[in-house]
C-alpha cells in the first residue's frame, strides 16, 4: 500500500522526541512492506496579517533551483516550511498548512493511495482542503480543548470528522471529548487506535517490589507534566517514609532549575539525578535500575512513558489524567496506582508507601504482556492497515 503521512510533529536532529509516536507508526508500516511517504508541516510564525507573496515567491525560486534547499528530505520524511500569521488561530494554521503542502507538492508530488493526517485541525483540515481523498485522521493533541474553543477551528474540525474516511483517536477520553463537543451524531465516526509502545530496547526485570527506593520519571520537566507535584511528593516520601529514596529524571524543561533548587533547599540534592533528554534506546537501562515510575501529569492524551515503565517491570504511580486510565486502567490492580487529579504530595507519597507494604497484588510480568499485546508496533500497524483498507474501500 502507498501511504502519505502528513504530520506537524516528527523527530529531527533538533527535536529528537517530537512526534516519535508518528515515526514509530511509519517504521512499523514500512517493516510490513508498505511504502510510506511522510510530509512534516513545519510552523514558521510571522507577524499578524497575510503572508506577503514575496515570501512564497522566494521559497519557490529556491525550490525550483534545488528542491532540497527548501524541502529537505531525510529518511523518507520531507519538511515543509509553512509561514503562519500570528493571531490567525488554529484555522489559520490549517490554511497555512494547505498553502505550504500544496506548494511543496508542485515540486515533490505524492503518490499515496491514502493520506493519514495527524491531528484533525490543523492537519486533516488542510489536506481535506487540498482534495486528498481518502483521508484517515489520528487525533492526539493535548491542546484539543483550545482548538475547539475557536469557532472557525471548531467548524473546520467538524468538517474534518464528517469528511474523513476514517477518524481515530489514541485513547477513549479524546473520543468522549469530541462527542461532547459535536454531539452523539459523531459517535459512530470516531474509533480508537492507540499509539505504539516500543519495548524493543526496554528489558523486563523481575522485582520483588518490597523496596520502592528508586523512583524514576521520564518526560518534560514542566508545570503541565506535574513535576512540581512530583518533587514535593518525593520530598514528603523521604521525610516521612523512606529516607533512602532517590529520584532519577530523564528529560529537561523550563522547570529544571526550579526543581533542582527546591531539592537542594530541602537537603535532597544528592538524592536526585537529572539526566536530561536521552534517545529512546538509552532509556531502558535507567528503567531497569529503578524500582518505581512516578508520573503525575494532570493531563495526557496517551502517556507512553507509563506504559514503557510497566514494560520494564516497574509499578507505576500516576494520576487519572485521561490517557492513563484508558491505556492501563484495566490492569491497575496488578500494575500500580491511579490517583485522582488534584491529589496532593502526601497522597502520592503515602500511596507509594502503601504499595511497598503490600506488593503481593502486583504482577508486572502480566502487565508487560498486556502492553506488548495491546500496543506493539505490529498490532498497531495491523489496525492502521485495516483502517486504511476500510477507508479505500
Amino acid at each position: 500500500m502507498r501511504i502519505d503521512v502528513v504530520t506537524p510533529w516528527y523527530p529531527d536532529h533538533a527535536s529528537v522526541f517530537l512526534g516519535v509516536f508518528v515515526q514509530q507508526q511509519v517504521t512499523a508500516l514500512r517493516s510490513k512492506g508498505h511504502n510510506v511517504n511522510v510530509e512534516v508541516a513545519q510552523i514558521f510564525p510571522g507577524p499578524p496579517g497575510p503572508i506577503p507573496p514575496a515570501v512564497y515567491e522566494a521559497m519557490h525560486r529556491h525550490a525550483a533551483q534545488d528542491v532540497d534547499a527548501v524541502y529537505p528530505t531525510v529518511d523518507g520524511a520531507t519538511w515543509i516550511p509553512c509561514p503562519v500569521p500570528a493571531r490567525s488561530g488554529f484555522a489559520g494554521r490549517a490554511d497555512a498548512f494547505a498553502t505550504g503542502i500544496a506548494a511543496k507538492r508542485r515540486f515533490l508530488p505524492t503518490e499515496g493511495e491514502i493520506t493519514h493526517a495527524h491531528l484533525g485541525v490543523p492537519t486533516a483540515a488542510a489536506v481535506l482542503e487540498l482534495g486528498d481523498h481518502p483521508v484517515v485522521v489520528t487525533e492526539h493533541q493535548s491542546t484539543l480543548d483550545f482548538v475547539l474553543d475557536e469557532p472557525p477551528a471548531r467548524d473546520r474540525y467538524r468538517e474534518a470528522i464528517e469528511q474523513a474516511a476514517g477518524f481515530y483517536v489514541v485513547a477513549g477520553h479524546l473520543r468522549d471529548r469530541l462527542i461532547a463537543a459535536f454531539g452523539p451524531e459523531v459517535t459512530d465516526r470516531i474509533d480508537v487506535i492507540p499509539n505504539i509502545v516500543d519495548l524493543t530496547d526496554i528489558a523486563f526485570r523481575e522485582r520483588d517490589h518490597e523496596r520502592l527506593d528508586r523512583w524514576i520519571y521520564v518526560g518534560a520537566i514542566a508545570a503541565h507534566k506535574g513535576t512540581k507535584l512530583l518533587i514535593e511528593a518525593f520530598l514528603h516520601h523521604r521525610a516521612n517514609h523512606n529516607p533512602h529514596a532517590t529520584l532519577t529524571i530523564v528529560g529537561d524543561g523550563a522547570e529544571g532549575r526550579w526543581l533542582w533548587n527546591r531539592a537542594t533547599e530541602a537537603g535532597a540534592g544528592d538524592a536526585i539525578r537529572l539526566l536530561g533528554p536521552l534517545p529512546h534506546h538509552e532509556i531502558g537501562p535507567h528503567l531497569s535500575d529503578a524500582d518505581l515510575m512516578v508520573h503525575l501529569s494532570p493531563a495526557e492524551t496517551f502517556g507512553i512513558a507509563s506504559l514503557e515503565g510497566l514494560g520494564a517491570g516497574l509499578p507505576v504511580i500516576s494520576l487519572r489524567n485521561g490517557g492513563a486510565e484508558h491505556t492501563w486502567g484495566s490492569i491497575e490492580s496488578i500494575a500500580g496506582v491511579l490517583l485522582d487529579v488534584g491529589s496532593d504530595a502526601p497522597a502520592v507519597s503515602d500511596s507509594v508507601a502503601e504499595l511497598a507494604d503490600a506488593p503481593q497484588r502486583l504482577d508486572l510480568a502480566s502487565a508487560r504482556r498486556y502492553v506488548e499485546v495491546t500496543y506493539s508496533a505490529s498490532a498497531v500497524a495491523d489496525r492502521l492497515l485495516a483502517a486504511y483498507t476500510k477507508a479505500i474501500s
Binding site: H13, A14, S15, F44, P45, G46, P47, P48, G49, P50, P52, A54, V55, A58, M59, R61, H62, D66, D68, A69, V70, P72, P81, P83, P85, A86, R87, G89, D145, F146, D149, E150, A222, A223, H224, G226, K228, L229, A254, E255, P298, A299, L319, V341, G342
Partner: protein
C-alpha cells in the same frame, strides 16, 4: 564558512543543532530578539548580533514573556480552575484579536543591518552555504545576494 541567519528565538535550538553538527566554521547572524549565547554555540560558531527588528517581534514577546510562562505554569499544573481560566483567557484574546484589524508591520522589509552583515561576510570569507533558520529570512538573504557574482547555495532549515 557557513553563514546562518536567524531572526526569531523559536529557531534557536534548530540553529544550534544544525551548525554544531558541521565540521566547518560557521557564523550565525542574529538579532537581539533571537537571544542566543556563545556558550550554546560552541567555539566553531561565531555569533554576530546585529541591531535589527525580528520578523516575528509580536510572537517573540509572547514567547519570551516570563509573566506568560508563569501564568501558563499555573493554569496547566492540574487545577481545574486553572484550566478553565486559560480557556477563558484564550477565548477572550481570540475574540479581541479577531475584532481588531491586523496590523501591517513593515517587518518583511529586509533589515539593512542583516543585509550588511551578510554582505560583509561574503566579502571577507569564502562562504560555501547560507542557511536561513527562519523561512522569512529568505527574502533578506536574496536581497543581500542581489548582484553578487557567484552566490553560495541558500537553504532553509
Amino acid at each position: 564558512m557557513i553563514v546562518g541567519v536567524m531572526t526569531q528565538p523559536l529557531r534557536v535550538k534548530y540553529a544550534v543543532a544544525h551548525l554544531s553538527d558541521r565540521p566547518v566554521s560557521a557564523r550565525l547572524i542574529t538579532v537581539q530578539a533571537a537571544k542566543v549565547s556563545q556558550s550554546e554555540l560552541g567555539d566553531s560558531i561565531e555569533l554576530v548580533h546585529v541591531d535589527a527588528p525580528s520578523t516575528t517581534s509580536v510572537t517573540n514577546r509572547l514567547v519570551r514573556g516570563s509573566a506568560t510562562r508563569r501564568v501558563l505554569g499555573w493554569t496547566r499544573s492540574g487545577s481545574h480552575v486553572g484550566r478553565r481560566l486559560e480557556r477563558l483567557i484564550r477565548r477572550t484574546l481570540w475574540r479581541v484579536r479577531q475584532a481588531a484589524p491586523p496590523s501591517t508591520p513593515d517587518a518583511y522589509t529586509p533589515a539593512p543591518a542583516v543585509v550588511a552583515a551578510i554582505r560583509s561576510t561574503l566579502e571577507d570569507h569564502d562562504v560555501t552555504e547560507i542557511i536561513c533558520f527562519d523561512v522569512f529570512d529568505l527574502v533578506t538573504v536574496e536581497h543581500a545576494l542581489a548582484n553578487h557574482g557567484d552566490p553560495p547555495p541558500v537553504r532553509v532549515r
